[in-house]
């Protein structure tokens, strides 16, 4: 698909690199994002990378769509490195009991045993495609096709904070209680957004994540540490 520059009102320019949820496409978006953040063209306010496009917010008092497109076009696919400045995280998740209200239903819909679903979910090295919906809410992929379900027909009015959820080929974590239509297969005591932290969101687009199964006792113990402000999950620079 050819690269498309699309006006989004008079304060934003979308650069569309494709039309799919795909890691290679995501890395192209994230490389373009990094190139712009490293040396922002005059008038750029901020950038928002998503699955297949980058939205560049700009100040029309300082620049124009035409000037920005001319400045950004040469940056598309300029950098070919595959490794980014990303971290790999290990996030504890309890896939049991009340923390996993939809696990049995997901097992019924997919024909898989709950234990196999947990093994699959915790065996994947996830890629953080983007953050959106709520502060710190990460969209991670990719689930294998046999676990890919549409969203629930009947969305919940209240999904508890910390819920680990799946829908289509993605998994996501709700940093705040909110309405939501994804299937809840576990919960994490980790805080994914804290405005007092720098950066405030735990994960950044491009990060890698692994989920470590924990039991209810460990969940309660970690939650206590999180509430006392002395717990951060393990992470290391990704290879």
């Amino acid at each position: 698909m050819p690269v498309r520059f699309l006006s989004v009102g008079d304060r934003a320019l979308a650069i569309e690199l494709g039309d799919a949820i795909d890691r290679r496409l995501s890395r192209r978006v994230l490389r373009l994002d990094r190139a712009i953040r490293t040396a922002p063209p005059h008038g750029v306010v901020e950038t928002v990378p998503t699955f297949r496009s980058l939205l560049v917010h700009y100040d029309p008092l300082a620049t124009s769509r035409a000037e920005l497109e001319a400045a950004i076009a040469p940056l598309v696919d300029r950098d070919q490195d595959t490794a980014g400045a990303v971290r790999e995280w290990r996030i504890p998740v309890c896939y049991e009991g009340e923390q996993a209200p939809d696990l049995a239903e997901v097992a019924r819909l997919t024909g898989l045993a709950p234990a196999d679903i947990v093994a699959c979910h915790s065996g994947i090295r996830w890629h953080v495609y983007m953050l959106g919906f709520l502060p710190g809410f990460p969209y991670l992929g990719d689930l294998p096709p046999e676990l890919a379900l549409p969203r629930r027909a009947d969305p919940r009015v209240k999904v508890p904070a910390g819920s680990v959820s799946i829908a289509t080929t993605l998994t996501a974590i709700y940093p705040y209680e909110s309405p939501g239509g994804w299937h809840l297969i576990g919960a994490t005591p980790v805080r994914f957004f804290d405005p007092a932290r720098t950066p405030p969101a735990l994960l950044a687009p491009g990060d890698a994540v692994r989920f470590d199964p924990i039991d209810a006792t460990a969940f309660a113990a970690i939650r206590q540490m999180v509430e006392a402000g002395d717990y951060l999950p393990d992470s290391e620079p990704a290879v």
């Binding site: 699309l6 006006s7 989004v8 009102g9 008079d10 304060r11 934003a12 979308a14 569309e16 039309d19 799919a20 949820i21 994002d33 306010v45 901020e46 950038t47 928002v48 990378p49 998503t50 699955f51 297949r52 496009s53 980058l54 939205l55 917010h57 029309p60 008092l61 124009s64 769509r65 035409a66 983007m130 953050l131 959106g132 919906f133 709520l134 502060p135 710190g136 809410f137 969209y139 705040y176 909110s178 957004f193 405005p195 950066p199 405030p200 969101a201 950044a204 687009p205």
Partner: protein, 342 residues
């Protein structure tokens, strides 16, 4: 004691806003900011503040306050709004005034605007969160404890005793733009819609439904039909986007909209008209007209120049037009009769 404004009656949604929280949308944090950014800047200008200082944004119905500071200089910006002191004396919008300890005042919104901004000289003294005082209600971020004001709150203010000087006013209220069509740039996903749907958006009249808040407003009107389905690979959203879910009923996204979403966006309101949209209320009619992107950029620059022109035109209130509070007191007209009974 911290000087401030005590909330006697909060109104429907009175909350702290500035021009917004920029730089965090990639982490899922909306920009927020006053729905009527022009009113915010004019209110600040009238009390001598930098134009982007935190103010109280008043939505849909007016609050009542009591002054708990020696003296406070205030100005209200909002078409048709006014501030009544002690239930008798009235200060119109677009004019500053000084009130003193114990005085009570009620804000009334006019028919022409669903929102108004109340600026206080020195600003509302709330700690910035991620660089902004704006309240993001959905996540409890920023502003006054991350929420709309409640009865009994004391809104902290930065300056207790503003300088003695003539009060300021705009020579005339700015146009309210009550009936003008809202200008949009088509896209970014207009190809997801039938030609008929695009034509309908630009020709039909819509009505703002009761489902309207700082995140967005649902519009009632003719159905906008999709040509390519209504599920896109989620992308980032700009304020003013008109997204159309499967129902075909458009949603106009405002300051607190989520940063990303999976519905196609047929058009985006130009930034010059976002404050105009911020003044509309549920039940109001709304129509749209399209402009080219470069025209929209020029309209943004024109609107900025017009706003700076208004700021430059602010003039001292002539003594004859100023409220003579001393004589009101002598006549015993102000006796704290506002009871905050909303």
């Amino acid at each position: 004691m911290q000087p401030g404004l005590r909330v006697l009656s909060p109104g429907l949604c009175t909350n702290v806003q500035d021009l917004g929280r920029f730089g965090w949308q990639a982490l899922g944090v909306p920009v927020s900011g006053a729905l009527d950014g022009a009113a915010l800047r004019l209110a600040n200008a009238l009390v001598g503040n930098p134009l982007g200082m935190p103010v109280l944004e008043i939505l849909w119905s007016g609050p009542t306050f009591e002054i708990v500071a020696d003296r406070v200089r205030l100005a209200l910006a909002g078409a048709g709004a006014d501030l009544s002191v002690g239930g008798s004396a009235t200060v119109p919008a677009w004019q500053s005034c000084v009130l003193t300890r114990g005085e009570m005042f009620r804000i009334t919104l006019g028919r022409q605007s669903a929102s108004a901004c109340l600026a206080i000289e020195g600003g509302v003294a709330v700690p910035p969160v991620l660089g902004s005082a704006s309240t993001y209600l959905r996540a409890g971020l920023g502003g006054f404890e991350g929420r709309a004001l409640r009865r009994g709150d004391i809104v902290p203010i930065a300056i207790e005793n503003p300088a003695e000087r003539a009060e300021s006013r705009l020579p005339a209220p700015p146009p309210a733009d009550t009936d003008q069509p809202i200008r949009v740039v088509l896209g970014p996903q207009q190809e997801y819609f039938t030609d008929d749907a695009v034509a309908t958006l630009l020709e039909a009249e819509f009505r703002i439904s009761q489902s309207a808040d700082r995140m967005g407003m649902r519009l009632d009107g003719p159905t906008l039909h999709h040509r390519l389905g209504w599920d896109i690979v989620s992308d980032a959203i700009a304020t003013g986007a008109i997204q159309v879910p499967g129902s075909g009923q458009p949603i106009l996204l405002l300051a607190d909209h989520q940063t990303t979403g999976g519905y196609p966006k047929i058009a985006t309101v130009i930034s010059a008209d976002l404050p105009v949209v911020g003044r509309r209320r549920p039940g109001d009619r709304i129509r749209f007209t399209a402009v080219a992107p470069d025209v929209a950029e020029q309209l943004c620059r024109d609107a900025e120049n017009r706003l700076l022109g208004l700021v430059a035109a602010i003039e001292p209130v002539p003594p004859s037009a100023a409220l003579d509070f001393a004589s009101l007191y002598r006549a015993n007209l102000i006796s704290g009769v506002v009871t905050g009974s909303e």
